[in-house]
């Protein structure tokens, strides 16, 4: 999962200080693994370099923690593309997908589109696995089934999330 895209997404709701960004990120997505300050600032400087964010005034007192960052137009485009690009179907992806859904909701984008894209990608993988399974021997079948069940679990989570989007949106924006 890309922290850069996540920070960009958070900046889309308004300019923030670096410290602010870390706090919001941890609150929403960090859970038991908070971001290190260094990671935040190195990421921000990379984004700055690529022209995806810009500095927007420095408050009195100086120091890197007093800089405010804002997203650029290029940054917005980048976030949009990232959001609808499905994650490569793999197990334990929900944290990335979750981040995308929350950010899409926060930025008033169509979160369902995110889920649709992901579902589509998942099903494509599952089709491949199903085809392999039907052609293969018992070992292949068992291996494929294992993967299929995991992917199915993702999709179940996805459908559950889809069903609760309205509630989630209230919580995220409210």
């Amino acid at each position: 999962m890309s922290i850069g895209h996540a920070l960009l997404g958070l900046l889309e709701t308004g300019p923030r200080h670096g410290y602010d960004l870390k706090r919001v990120y941890d609150e929403r997505f960090g859970h038991d693994r908070p971001l290190a300050y260094g990671q935040v600032y190195s990421t921000l400087s990379r984004l700055l370099r690529n022209g995806l964010v810009e500095e927007r005034g420095v408050e009195a007192g100086g120091g890197p923690e007093r800089k405010r960052y804002a997203i650029t137009d290029a940054g917005v485009t980048d976030v949009s593309e990232w959001l609808v690009t499905p994650e490569n179907p793999q197990i334990y992806l929900q944290s990335a997908l979750y981040t995308k859904v929350v950010l899409a909701l926060m930025s008033d984008r169509d979160a369902e589109e995110v889920l649709d894209a992901q579902r589509s990608a998942h099903l494509a993988s599952m089709r491949e696995l199903t085809a392999r399974k039907r052609a293969g021997d018992l070992t292949d079948q068992l291996i494929c089934d294992h993967a299929l069940f995991h992917l199915e679990a993702d999709l179940r989570w996805l459908e559950l999330t889809a069903a609760r989007l309205a509630d989630l949106a209230k919580q995220v924006t409210g």
Partner: protein, 226 residues
């Protein structure tokens, strides 16, 4: 892409005040398996019923090979369903008092085939669907997976162009579900039939060529190909 076999355009259908379908559209091509996905109550089954001509939509049109179903008489629609379509539902579709082979032969006999011929053909199909040993059993005497396979045989016995399957594995465990799907898909491929598959299970949907997602009575346009 191959020829369009069945099309539903802008379908709307309400039951009382609840709108089950609200502008749903989809195409089914020749020899294609389409899964209709969506949460409970999204209108999946209603979409299938509209496409199959079981239910007349309040608005929009359904066409099979360019013929609008809404312009046919009820008799013509029944005949169409009997000859060109096949159906597999979740459960309880076999006539309990008829034996399995009689159940499978039923659509043939209604098409005017003689009893002997119909039962011979039904037996062939039951062998193919791996339930040839159940010929004279009654539906009440066979397991859920077996009766579902008998239902598949009945759906395919007339050589339909489209098989409509509404949660065909809904009442089965994964193993039996997989078997039913495998048989359904394999035989459909062999005979060149298309399948419209309503399911809420991803693993079942994975047997399809593509999926259509229904939410709140609308078909969702999936933005990306991969």
């Amino acid at each position: 892409m191959s020829e369009v076999l069945l099309s539903g355009t802008n379908l709307g259908k309400a039951f009382g005040r609840t709108a089950a379908l609200d502008g749903a559209s989809m195409l089914v091509h020749d020899n294609e398996i389409v899964a209709i996905l969506g949460p409970s109550g999204s209108g999946k089954s209603t979409l299938l019923h509209c496409l199959a001509g079981i239910v007349a939509p309040d608005s929009g049109t359904v066409a099979f090979r360019g013929r609008e179903l809404g312009r046919m008489t009820d008799k013509e629609r029944s005949a169409l369903r009997r000859t060109e379509f096949g159906f597999v539902f979740q459960f309880g579709q076999l006539v309990p008092e008829l034996s399995c082979v009689e159940n499978v032969a039923l659509p043939l006999r209604l098409g005017g085939m003689r009893r002997k011929d119909a039962e011979v053909k039904a037996k062939e199909w039951m062998d193919r669907i791996e339930v040839g040993h159940l010929l004279d059993k009654r539906p009440g005497e066979v397991s859920g997976g077996q009766s579902q396979r008998v239902a598949v045989a009945r759906a395919l016995v007339t050589g339909p162009k489209v098989v409509f399957a509404d949660e065909p594995t809904g009442a089965l465990d994964s193993f039996n579900g997989e078997q039913v799907m495998r048989l359904l898909v394999d035989t459909a491929r062999d005979t060149g039939a298309s399948i419209v598959l309503v399911t809420h299970e991803a693993r079942v949907a994975a047997y399809s060529d593509r999926e259509v997602v229904v939410r709140d009575g609308k078909t969702r346009q999936v933005a990306l190909a991969h």
